[in-house]
Subunit: 324 residues, 2 copies
C-alpha cells in the first residue's frame, strides 16, 4: 500500500509543480480527509491544503484550481455529486486521484485510483481505510515535494497500527458498554474534539450517532466550546470528549476540566492514550489520532450504543429507500 501510494503521488507530480492539494468528498468521506489535511497544514509549507464537501466544490469551485492542484476525491460507491466534483476538477486541469471501494464514474473520471477498505468491516485493515490512505498520500506528497523528516517513522506507524487497533478494540468493549447503557434513552449527545481528532468527532456525530441511530449530535471543537456552546452544559448533558494525543491535547484537557467541574455523570472522555497512541513513535503519533479514534468509535462505541438502545445500526429512514 505504501509503495502504491508513493507511486500514485509520483505520477501526479510528474511534469507538474503542485502548489495546492484539495480533498473533496461528502459526509464521512469528507470528514475522513481531516487527518490528511491537518498533517499537510502542520508539516508541508509549500503545498496549501484545503477541504471541500463535494457539492460546494461543484457549484463554486476555488479560484486556484488548475494544473498545479492535486485533487484527491473519495467515495465508497460513486456518490453522484462527488463524481461531478471529479469532473469539475479534471476540467479545470487538476491532477485527480480517486479513493474508492467499488468502481464507479469516479474511478472512470480520475487520472488515477487507489482502492481502500471500509472502516465498518472488522476484516478491513486499519492502514487501508480511506482516512489512512489519504494520510499516506499527504505524507508521501510532503516527502516528495519538500522533505518530511519523519516519513520512515510514519510508515512504520502504518505497519503497526492495525495491531494496536485490534488490542484497543478488545480493551474498549467494556467501557463502551458502560457508556452506552448510560446513554440509552438520551435524545442528544454532544461530541467534542480538536486539532488532529476533530474529524473523528465530526464523523462520530453525523455518521454514527445521527445517521445510524437517529439521535441528535452537535459536534463542538474543544477550543470553540468556551466561546458559546459551553452555556448549554448542565449536570445532565451528555457529552463525549475525544482527548487527543499531541500538541492540541491541552485544549481538550482544558475542556475536560470544565466538563468535570460543571457537567455531571453523562460526561464521558475517551483518551487517545488508552487506544495505544503512545505506542507509536513520538514524532508522528499526533497524526494518527484520527486513524485510531474513528474505527474505535464506529466499531466499538456506535455498536455498543446500538445494542443498548435496541436499534439496529442498519436502520435508515431515507438512505437506500427514497430519492434525494
Amino acid at each position: 500500500m505504501q509503495d502504491e501510494v508513493a507511486e500514485v503521488v509520483a505520477n501526479a507530480l510528474r511534469g507538474r509543480d503542485v502548489t495546492h492539494v484539495a480533498w473533496v468528498a461528502a459526509g464521512g468521506s469528507n470528514g475522513g480527509f481531516y487527518a490528511a489535511h491537518y498533517f499537510m497544514e502542520r508539516e508541508c509549507a509549500t503545498v496549501s491544503s484545503h477541504m471541500y464537501t463535494s457539492n460546494e466544490f461543484v457549484l463554486a469551485p476555488p479560484a486556484y484550481v488548475d494544473e498545479h492542484t492535486l485533487c484527491v476525491i473519495c467515495s465508497m460507491r460513486g456518490t453522484k455529486e462527488t463524481c461531478e466534483a471529479a469532473r469539475v476538477a479534471k476540467e479545470l486541469g487538476a491532477a485527480t486521484v480517486a479513493l474508492y471501494v467499488n468502481e464507479s464514474d469516479l474511478t472512470r473520471i480520475c487520472d488515477q485510483k487507489i482502492a481502500y477498505e471500509s472502516i465498518a468491516l472488522d476484516q478491513s485493515r486499519t492502514e487501508r481505510v480511506n482516512s489512512s490512505v489519504a494520510l499516506m498520500i499527504a505524507m508521501s506528497l510532503a516527502s516528495q515535494v519538500d522533505s518530511y523528516d519523519h516519513y520512515d517513522e510514519a510508515m512504520y506507524a502504518f505497519d503497526v497500527v492495525d495491531g494496536i487497533y485490534r488490542k484497543a478494540f478488545a480493551r474498549m468493549q467494556e467501557p463502551a458498554r458502560e457508556w452506552a447503557a448510560r446513554m440509552a434513552g438520551e435524545r442528544t449527545i454532544y461530541v467534542m474534539g480538536s486539532g488532529p481528532a476533530y474529524g473523528s468527532a465530526y464523523i462520530f456525530s453525523i455518521c454514527n450517532i445521527e445517521e445510524m441511530l437517529q439521535i441528535d449530535s452537535p459536534t463542538i471543537n474543544s477550543c470553540e466550546f468556551f466561546h458559546g456552546p459551553f452555556e448549554v452544559l448542565d449536570a445532565t448533558k451528555p457529552v463525549f470528549l475525544l482527548l487527543s494525543v499531541g500538541r492540541c491535547r491541552p485544549a481538550d484537557e482544558r475542556a475536560l476540566r470544565f466538563l468535570r467541574r460543571y457537567g455531571g455523570p453523562n460526561v464521558y472522555v475517551l483518551d487517545g492514550m488508552d487506544l495505544g497512541l503512545g505506542e507509536l513513535p513520538q514524532d508522528v503519533r499526533e497524526y494518527f489520532n484520527h486513524i485510531l479514534f474513528s474505527p474505535i468509535l464506529n466499531n466499538v462505541y456506535m455498536r455498543a450504543l446500538s445494542a443498548a438502545t435496541g436499534k439496529d445500526y442498519m436502520t435508515r429512514r431515507y438512505m437506500w429507500k427514497v430519492e434525494y
Copy 2:
C-alpha cells in the same frame, strides 16, 4: 472605512509578497471570518486562505506561516487565546492586523488595527461589523495582489447594505415572531446553510441559540445533510434553513425540497432574497449573504426566540461568572 481598510492592506503588502492569509479568532469572531475566507477562495487564486480557531493556531501553528503570511486576528475585548495567537503569528514573522472593539493586548501586539462595531447593537452600521471589515480586507487584498474585477461594485454594496438591513430588520419582525412562537419549548434546533452562508448558520447555532438561550443546536452544511444528518429528520424536528443567494443556492434548494417532503411544520426557511440580497449588484451579492443573514439572525430571530421563551438573552451560566 473602505479607505482605512485599503490603506491597512497596502501597508501589510509593502515590502512583502503575501502568499497566504490566515483568519484567526474564537467562537462568533471565528465564524465571522467565513465570508472573507469564502470570498478569497473563490476570487483570489494567488493568496491561499485559511481559517483557525485561536487556540489551535497557538498550539499547532501551520507550517507555512512566515513573512509571506497576513494574519487577520479578531477579538472584541482581547480573548486570552486570541491575543496569544497574535503573539505566535508575530513571532513567526507574519504581518498582523487586529480587528477589535476595545483595545487590549491584541491591539498592542499586532502591527496594525482596525476598530469594528458590535453586530449586537442596533446603532452599529452593517458595513462596520467584524464580518464586513474582514470581507472588505479580503476584497482589498484580492484587488491589490491580483485584480478583482468587481471591486467597485462590492464597495458600492457596502455603501448601501446598511439601508437594506434596516428594511429587512423591520420586515422580518413578524415572520420571526411566528417562528419563535412555534419553537418555544423545543430543546434542539438544527441550523442549516451552505457556501457563503455557512458561517452565519454556525454563529446562529453556537452564539445565539446555544450561548444566549441554552438550547441545543447542531449546525449542518446543506450539502453534508444528505450524507448522514438527514436520518434524524422526522415530522416534528425543528430545522432552520438559510437559503443562500448565489452559486450554492441549488444545494440549499435541494435540502429544502427534502425538508418540505419529509419534515413537518417545524421546518423553517429564511430566504436571502427576502433580506434584500437581490438589491445588491449581481456579481457581488453572493459574498454578502453572511453580511445580511448574521445581523438579522442575531437581532431579529434570536431576540424573538428570547421573547417567546421568556428567557433574557443576557442569561449566562458561566461567562462573566466563573474562571475557565
